[in-house]
Symmetry: C2
Subunit: 544 residues, 2 copies
């Protein structure tokens, strides 16, 4: 069987890309929704047509076995997977590919690469699954370097050790979502961290970027699932103690979480696991008004019921993602447990929604453990039915984006978090700013909103944008829109990112948001850990 090949410019597996016919069908549907024609479908870019500049750096012999200069590797590690990355890839515009791509086999290799980079003035940019949507894995010429190496942790993909008593596992940083879950499954355990990028992102990437996952409440960020982290820095290895909780000084893990490769390369972590859920309950709650749904969601977030899923879709999302045609907002509500039936939980949650005008036309779905033919309880978290369909659509969406990019359609997302008191105003400013920008620049377009995570003190709204672009102008168009909406987010009291991270695309707003003395403290910390400043230069800390 031939090994599957990852797309070097688009999402995921090459063999999963939409065919031209599928792409044109999708384009027509989007054109219909936008009420305007879209640009004709361009052919996908070809690796053979790329004229990559030659590598400028010569590695020591000892590193040769783990370094690649193959065009497929270099092209595939040039960018992440933001809209602007896919656009550039689709045009074959790879101005600054990595000179070399490193595939360390173990921590010793990582140490040797960083030593070499520090000595030879080479930028060292860690690469997990490459799914960054914020320019986190590319080099934009920051700093005075002889070249740059993309350090792909993909070979460090094992679950090394499992502690079933404490329900924790030591997992290497390069493990992709499906791979680590497959290794945990025989033990009846799961990390249950399912970002949209799940198939093509790694544990190390999740940790470095503070990624957001499955749980709508309590364990929203990967941060909350961390027991300890091990990372290689140019000045030594950091390994925090395996602890369920501690009060000994500022948390070492929290220094690495969100450091985006600027402080060190995470090589493994002890992660808190869950048993696979056996009891589930879910409901689709409809609200005539989006803001009624917001109030109900706030009540739920403040109730202490801790729903697993609490995803409020505005009418636009409810129509496009869940097929609702009546203009309702939809709250996708779910509880799950490995331990106990959750009937009481969802019962009260539905009552709270009803207090705010929510109704549940299709009723509540309760799943209890079923016994398979082998007598073992069947995991009801399966991929069948509506949930499975939604999940498949969710995971396949980025393939559709690749196709839309080939028709110059602007298709991107952005996200934030704010306190409840500020949400109505933030939402108004963001959507008005976006609609005005789209109208002026693209002649129209759509922006929709959902909540991905909710907290007692505020929601994490996630916005999707769809608009007709113009061939060749996609980046200029998006950068202008993105800047306007990022200003609006910050002005309205939001964060520039709840879980997409900072990278290079958010740096300007991150610097506005971060208190200045903290910026100086982080720069000093980086100087102590990475004196040559080779680690992901320009990310989190300004280049030296």
């Amino acid at each position: 069987m031939a090994e599957r090949v990852r797309s070097w410019w688009g999402w995921g597996w090459e063999d999963q890309a939409l065919s031209d016919a599928q792409a044109e069908k999708l384009g027509a549907a989007v054109a219909g929704r936008l009420g305007t024609a879209v640009a004709p479908l361009r052919p996908p870019p070809s690796l053979r047509d790329l004229d990559l500049p030659s590598p400028r750096i010569q590695p020591p012999d000892s590193l040769a076995p783990i370094l690649s200069t193959q065009p497929l590797d270099r092209a595939g590690h040039t960018y992440g997977k933001a809209y602007r990355d896919i656009v550039r890839g689709s045009y074959g515009e790879l101005e600054r590919p990595p000179d070399l791509v490193a595939f360390p086999r173990d921590e010793g290799d990582v140490i040797e690469i960083l030593d070499w980079c520090s000595t030879a003035r080479i930028a060292a940019i860690p690469y997990g699954g490459g799914s960054s949507v914020v320019g986190g894995v590319e080099w934009r010429g920051e700093g005075d370097f002889a070249g740059w190496v993309s350090i792909d942790l993909g070979r460090l993909d094992r679950v090394v050790e499992i502690d079933e008593v404490s329900r924790a596992a030591r997992i290497q940083a390069g493990a992709l979502g499906p791979g680590l879950e497959a290794q945990l499954r025989p033990h009846g355990l799961t990390l249950r961290h399912f970002p949209q990028s799940f198939e093509f992102s790694t544990l190390g990437g999740w940790l470095a970027t503070r990624s957001g996952g499955h749980y709508a409440t309590v364990y929203t960020h990967i941060d909350d699932l961390v027991e300890s982290i091990r990372a290689v820095t140019p000045t030594g290895v950091i390994e925090s103690r395996r602890l369920p909780g501690s009060g000994a000084g500022p948390s070492p893990d929290r220094l690495l979480l969100g450091s985006e490769g600027a402080f060190g390369i995470i090589t493994e972590a002890w992660m808190r696991l869950q048993e696979r859920p056996r009891f589930k309950a879910s409901a689709g709650v409809r609200f005539r008004e989006f803001l009624d749904g917001v109030e109900a969601t706030r009540a739920l977030a403040q109730s202490g019921l801790f729903p697993t899923n609490c995803r409020l879709l505005d009418p636009g999302e409810a129509a496009s993602a869940a097929g609702l045609g009546d203009g309702s907002a939809l709250l996708v509500l779910g509880f799950e447990s490995a331990d106990h039936p959750v009937d009481a939980w969802i019962g009260r949650a539905v009552e709270l929604c009803a207090d705010h005008g929510g109704h549940v036309p299709e009723g509540v779905t309760i799943s209890a453990p079923a016994t398979g033919t082998d007598g073992a309880p069947r995991d009801v978290a399966g991929r069948e039915g509506a949930v499975g369909a939604w999940r498949n659509a969710f995971l396949r969406a980025p393939y559709g984006r690749d196709a839309l990019v080939r028709m110059s359609i602007v298709v991107e997302t952005f996200e934030t978090a704010c306190t409840w008191d500020r949400f109505p105003e933030l939402h108004h400013r963001v959507t008005t700013t976006m609609q005005r920008s789209l109208q002026r620049i693209c002649g129209g377009g759509w922006v929709t909103c959902r909540f991905t995570h909710v907290y007692p003190d505020g929601p994490a709204p996630y916005y999707s944008v769809l608009a007709p672009g113009r061939p060749g102008l996609e980046i200029a168009i998006w950068d202008e829109i993105k800047a306007a909406v990022s200003d609006a987010l910050l002005d309205a009291g939001g964060t520039i990112t709840h879980h997409h991270a900072v990278g290079r695309d958010h740096d300007l707003w991150y610097r506005r948001q971060r208190p200045d003395p903290v910026g100086h403290a982080l720069a000093a910390a980086k100087q102590a850990l990475d004196p040559a400043g080779v680690l992901n230069p320009g990310v989190i800390v300004p280049p030296a």
Copy 2:
């Protein structure tokens, strides 16, 4: 009415100290329990007998109105409230009192004090309620300073702003527990952070030391209740954004949480609040074997039920704190909610305990909202009944300690956290180490254990020690025991502190536990924030 006076050497209010008769009665009870005589009751120390060295530093005139050289202020700000602090105070041994005590009226005063300290080489040690049990608020001569100032934030005690929608409040750092709760109560809100020091510790102190509070699960540390923090550093003011969650770089708040005054002086914070609970359920679950109770507690911690209270007492604690005479371990289990009855929660929790041999001889107590004569729901979280008695005893315990110190009894606590797989071995090592030390050094003594907080991946055990000491040798005795048991904690995989903080007493073990590169990063961060190194020198970061 005369203003109540705080004890300058012992716990809390002077008027709450045990009388000689009460002290002797308590001493006799302890002597009975220890099976040995205790030293005769020494008189309490007298402020008049102290011969404090004269202040060595002369403040600028502009600061004069907020600086005190009163002996009561200087004596009362010399130490925290660790056992070794009370002992030293009880002997009138105040070697290094603060030269001056500052009482800033506002943030401007804090800035001015830090400017002066930075310019004039004066150590600046923040003081909240002064309840540190790790030497966090005293100066031990670290660094080359002309003198030191204790900066008491007590005048910054207001709840400045309340956001009832997001359920959050902006609270000044010097607010003591009762004061801030009193200001929140009219709004039906509560922070619900109740460390044992509640009456005499402040929000700023809780934040700086990552204190542990009321909730046994989910919101265990004050960290989890923080929305944003404002702090004055010698190089500028840090104010993080009010956000329910964020993924924008390493968390600024997490850099300040646990910084123990070494990075800046926290002046206020936006804190996440709760509605006052209306529904409660509790049960006392007994286990014949402590380790069965441990297994049941682990099952609860991993169940996703999130009990509010989940305090497992070993047989020694169950006897002394809850009066159980049958050698059982006792799990104090409780659920509370402002939103919904918690019957289903406690029902399942009791089932889980039964699976591990737990029984509930007195049954489950359920409290539902009661209506007072004014028609308003009565808060069932009240101070009556068994819970109230326990809570009063808990809060009054430190007064008893002051009396025992006057009879040279060793009476102290220490605490840790570890993963579940390591707990049995850690517990065995800690208790054997302690018992051997007590036997050898004191000729006997008691050590008991309870869990204060529990996590899915491990418990936070809390140990209490009681032993006969010898007049004049108390500090030597305790320091030797403490060193042995701290070594055992670290060797067995625990943390040197789960919520008491590092201060000066834990510094040696903190440095063993903290990864070295993180130590360098924190030192560099401090250098950036506090270039003169005046802030709480020697805590968290070695003195320059």
